[in-house]
């Protein structure tokens, strides 16, 4: 499913909210057609993703760069709920500033949980003052994060551990999940995040196909059972509310 902005996004005062519901056993790839610029203005803007993935389902989300202009305060929020053996793979790219800019105030939050508790919870305060502090973001300007939840994929390639700021780090989470995060000074020069996303997606899909094949075999063994699908396998709803106008983010299948 492609996510296409049919009007200019993300203007000052815009609050975009995307709700995704992946039914048990379903699989959804979300692809953003273009990057998103958070334009300058007095009123903060926000971009929120709220996703539910059912047992045996897979949601992958290939995010394009989210560029934070000067003179805007913007927030990216992600809420993920996994059920049973559901899996999520997301890539999030953020850039502070358009060409020649230092970038405005960004904060991000992630709250991911499954049936037994929290998987990853993170709040990043990347407002101008906070991010320059030693140990937060220093003088870096871009970040590419690939997050797998519901299983712990191995690192793809060899993350450049390095001792300074720029480079990528592989973080296996405490429960099922792993994160590859690259941070850098300018444009996306990381060579590991995109191939990692592709490799981990392949990983998730291999498991998914195995599960579906096993289900099919079980159904054939018990012919009375029929398809277990009821209702749509995937529902995606996008809202964009501006202060004085209405527009839409159109999911195009």
């Amino acid at each position: 499913m492609g996510l296409v902005a049919t009007r200019a996004l993300l203007l000052s005062g815009d609050a975009v909210r995307i709700e995704v519901d992946v039914a048990p056993g379903a699989w959804l790839d979300v692809v953003e057609a273009t990057g998103t610029v958070a334009y300058e203005g007095d009123t903060p803007s926000s971009w929120t993703i709220d996703a539910d993935v059912g047992d045996g389902g897979v949601l992958t989300w290939a995010g394009m760069p989210f560029v934070v202009s000067d003179e805007i305060a913007t927030h990216r929020g992600t809420h993920l709920r996994l059920h049973g053996t559901g899996k999520v793979l997301m890539q999030e790219k953020v850039v502070l500033g358009r060409a020649g800019q230092a970038g405005g105030d960004l904060s991000t939050s992630l709250d991911a949980r499954d049936d037994s508790g929290p998987l990853q919870v993170e709040y990043l305060d990347l407002r101008r003052q906070a991010r320059q502090m030693p140990g937060v973001f220093g003088s870096l300007r871009s970040m590419d994060t690939v997050t797998a939840l519901g299983w712990t994929p191995e690192p793809f390639g060899e993350p450049d551990s390095g001792s300074t700021g720029p480079g990528e780090t592989y973080f296996p989470l405490d429960r099922s999940g792993a994160v590859l995060r690259w941070m850098g000074i300018g444009r996306f020069r990381d060579e590991l995040c995109d191939p990692t996303f592709a490799a981990w997606r392949e990983d998730a899909m291999r498991d998914y196909r195995h599960q579906r094949a096993a289900q099919r075999l079980r159904r054939e063994a018990e012919p009375g059972r029929g398809e277990d699908g009821h209702g749509p396998a995937v529902a995606i709803t996008a809202f964009a509310a501006g202060p004085d106008r209405r527009r839409s983010v159109a999911p195009s299948a």
Partner: protein, 217 residues
């Protein structure tokens, strides 16, 4: 009820045999990554706003959950979900075992079988409950301990006037008080702050694979 000030002194003392001497609170890899000594006061503030806030929040919530007879494993899970670095989780859990010995020797009591796998802030919360420590004082203890850990490590990594560094910690005390007041009321695992510090987390992972180092984290 108020916390005994001598109890706070005892627990905040670097001579407490809980394993604190192995720690630099991330300073060793921070210096290796190019942070200068002059930036250490700012580094202390970064920690207070991010990883130390998570640590203190976890301890305060663990204390409340222990007081209410709840399951501390849920607090441990909330802390772990807020600690993406495997190196920092491992380090926190090693320190937890050190504090468990302090707890069971000074304030003995029945213990959950999983307690040996809990991180320092969770064990510290249980300790605070048994020792009768107020939540704000517990948060102060976590903030103060972190600042002094950085200060003591700096003296070994980049020796300089110890009084100058003590003055930095003294200058940070109002910030520690403010942080403590902001989180003292927390009581449920989902309320624990989740402020990350991307570079501190990256440096922690790099440090964990470094063979030539003075401190374990």
């Amino acid at each position: 009820m108020s916390t005994s000030s001598l109890l706070l002194a005892l627990l905040g003392d670097a001579r407490l045999p809980s394993g604190g001497h192995t720690q630099s609170a991330g300073l060793e890899p921070a210096l290796r990554a190019g942070t200068t000594s002059a930036e250490v006061p700012a580094y202390l503030r970064t920690r207070l706003r991010t990883v130390t806030r998570v640590e203190a929040g976890t301890a305060v919530v663990a204390r409340a959950v222990a007081a209410g007879g709840g399951d501390l494993a849920e607090v441990e899970a909330a802390w772990a979900a807020r600690t993406p670095s495997q190196a920092l989780r491992g380090n926190g859990r090693r320190l937890g075992r050190g504090y468990l010995r302090v707890l069971q020797t000074l304030w003995p009591g029945p213990l959950d079988a999983r307690a040996r796998t809990w991180s320092r802030p969770v064990v510290l919360g249980l300790l605070a409950h048994r020792a009768g420590m107020e939540p704000a004082d517990l948060a102060r203890l976590v903030g103060y301990d972190d600042a002094q850990t950085v200060a003591a490590a700096l003296l070994k990594l980049d020796p300089q006037d110890p009084l100058l560094i003590t003055a930095w910690v003294n200058g940070l005390l109002p910030d520690i008080d403010e942080m403590a007041d902001q989180i003292a009321h927390l009581h449920a695992p989902e309320q624990i702050p989740a402020h990350g510090a991307p570079l501190i987390e990256r440096w922690a992972e790099t440090h964990d694979t470094t063979t030539e180092r003075l401190f374990s984290a």
